[in-house]
Amino acid sequence: MQNKVLVIGSGGAGLVAALNAHEAGADVTVLTKDYPTRAQTSMAQGGINAVLKHSQNDSVEAHIANTLKSAHGIASEEEVKKLCTEAVDAVEWLDNIGVQFSRTKDGKIAHRRLGGASGDRACYAQDYTGLKILHTLYDQVISKNIEIINDRFLLDIITKQNKVEGVSVLNKRSGEVEVYSANAVVLATGGYARIYDKHSTNAVGTSGDGIAAAIRAGARVSDMEFVQFHPTALKNSSILISESARGAGGHLLNSKSERFVDELLPRDEVARAIHEEMQKGEDIFLDIRHLGEEFIDEELPQERKLAKLYENVDPVYDLIPIKPVAHYTMGGIEVDKNSQTKVEGLFACGECANHRVHGANRLGGNSLLELVVFGREAGVSAADYAKNISVDASVDKIESNNILDEINTYTNDINFYEARTALGDMFYKNVGISRDKKSLQESLKTIKDYISKLHLMGVKDKSKIYNTNLIEFLEFKNMLELSRLVLKGALDREESRGAHYRSDFPNENEAYAKHTIVDINGVVAS
């Protein structure tokens, strides 16, 4: 077998990787947990950063400088340069394939301001930027006749002597374990912010399945302790209200209707300021009433709809009750300059990977950009690798079968859904915007306790057909594995940097200006 590239995940990063691997001559198959347009990418609202030819009072250098500043010393300058320099090309390509970017009066792609940016730099499609990019990518993938296989849950990455040979997946429809052989595998499976359960803006399946599988297969992960809290999620539902609402001039107010922070600082600083107000007992609101109905309907139609639907307020006339919740995970699978992991032939891109461009805090508008720039790199690298390697097509699936057989013996003494809720509540309180040694140690103890009791938290539904009870258990198991790594990183990092704020070590410490790198056996470098 030759030239076979499997892409796991069908969000923006996965589809960009698939298109590029295909163009580079590989035989590509995309495996997805659901369907290709249902990914987290659809939820990105604000925009994609790019300094275009018609951009005024802005430069690629400024984009690089803003990104590095927000990263607080632990981004790779080289990778950030790559990200920002290739941004023009990325957005022009998206424009070329039909993304409906909002336009200026003279027919240019419109820009708007997001937090931490020195210029109006985010290209957007109303506040549906991610949705429109994702669907356009999907249309391109079907135009190339690239195979997409739906409803496959990633179990394990199959390796032999640290070389990838394929993956095992659970076919959700049949309940059978299936093995797909490949010369190269690209992981594009998303982040892990659902560890925070209902205190997260993320889609329900954002459980870090690919990251957990990569560690089990011998890859390394890094910077897991850096979790971004978005300042403005709706108070009751944790549904995202885009940063573009603040970019356009929205104000943050406390119960006394006072502004208390510069709304356009990077997300970590704004989230912390809100957290401090809330600790004083204040309720916090986003106020965009002064922007006017016409502007809101033109530029922020989704925000109005979401606020009405999920918070029962109309932003044209009312204050929007908000709170900061977990939104994006900066940490992820370690990759090299070609997006390859420590496992040969295993590549990663998108939120599941750590390309070291976000460091301690990601800038709004850089994640959609990342998935195009590094999705392309991962796709091309995987195709190049696949050309020159042959693998045994007869890999077996025994190990993955064993896991499912084992889970089948677990008893139902504890409802794992209750444990999942408790995990989220504990993480939001103890491993959230502010952390300290005691709260982290307590949490680690609880996680270890959960892991030791997994055999009592079994799956009640014994059906083979579309067993979402089993899928959710497997996701919970992955989240527990990743929780431990988040806590390990957060405990080791005795300083405050970007999104990682330790109340017992409130200052940045030069000694920690480095990455926390972990493999299955623990910390390997920091």
Binding site: Y35, M43, Y128, K132, H135, A203, L309, T468
Partner: protein, 229 residues
């Protein structure tokens, strides 16, 4: 409060503990506290991923944006194979996007898109592929190969895009099992959570088709009868 959910048969659940909950919150409550075997799809919880469309009292809704009422009857989408409970197989429905060639044919040089150009298909590009329209469409009862509302809206999106260089190819493929099979009943428009009217898009595609020399085959067959004279 009680609601009924179509599983192998209609099953009644008491959800009195919940107040003002969305249907998705209600399904989550049942699954995590009452019956973990209840099976449904969900994703973003915020009406943008298209995962959770179901039928409530015979009308398509997104579970995450519908507020549950006493006595509601919840069923899976129609015109698609039910895999289990409220989960359906969307493979065939999605394939109509490919069959309709719903993508851009790139020009050698991309013309600038004006604000007016962008507005032409802004609404169509809001589609979340939830398949509510597909479920509500009565044409599938008589023609399972109908390319259907969401695919045809996607075709309109691309043929109305100034960046597309070959609208004719798409217009050609939607003549069969496409725009002329629609009865213009407007059911698709009534259920779209994104306020898209596929019926209106299909009418616009019919007009475009006549510009390319195609005729409504329903009239054509009538005229055809005269050819024997």
């Amino acid at each position: 409060m009680n609601i009924k959910i179509k599983r192998d048969e209609l099953v009644e659940y008491n959800v009195s503990e919940l107040k003002g909950a969305t249907l998705l919150e209600t399904l989550n409550y049942i699954k995590t506290k009452i019956d973990p075997t209840l099976t449904y799809s969900s994703g973003c919880r915020s009406s943008v991923c298209g995962s959770c469309a179901v039928r409530v009292n015979e009308k398509e809704v997104l579970a995450c944006s519908y507020k549950v009422q006493e006595g509601d009857v919840i069923e899976p989408l129609k015109n698609v194979e039910v895999i289990r409970d409220l989960v359906v197989n969307m493979d065939k429905a999605y394939e109509f996007n490919a069959k309709s060639k719903a993508w851009i044919n790139k020009s050698a040089s991309t013309p600038d898109v004006t604000q007016e150009n962008e507005k032409l298909n802004e609404v169509q590009s809001d589609c979340i592929l939830c398949a509510s329209c597909y479920s509500a469409c009565p044409v599938y009862a008589v023609n399972p190969e109908f390319k259907g509302p969401f695919s045809l809206t996607r075709v309109y999106k691309y043929v109305s895009d100034v960046r597309d260089s070959d609208a004719k190819e798409k217009i050609d493929v939607i003549q069969t099992n496409g725009i002329w099979d629609c009865t213009l009943c407007n059911e698709c428009t009534m259920v779209c959570p994104q306020d898209i009217s596929s019926k209106a898009d299909i009418e616009k595609l019919r007009m475009k088709s006549t510009q390319y020399g195609y005729m409504d085959p329903n009239f054509g067959s009538f005229d055809g009868g005269l050819d024997f004279l």
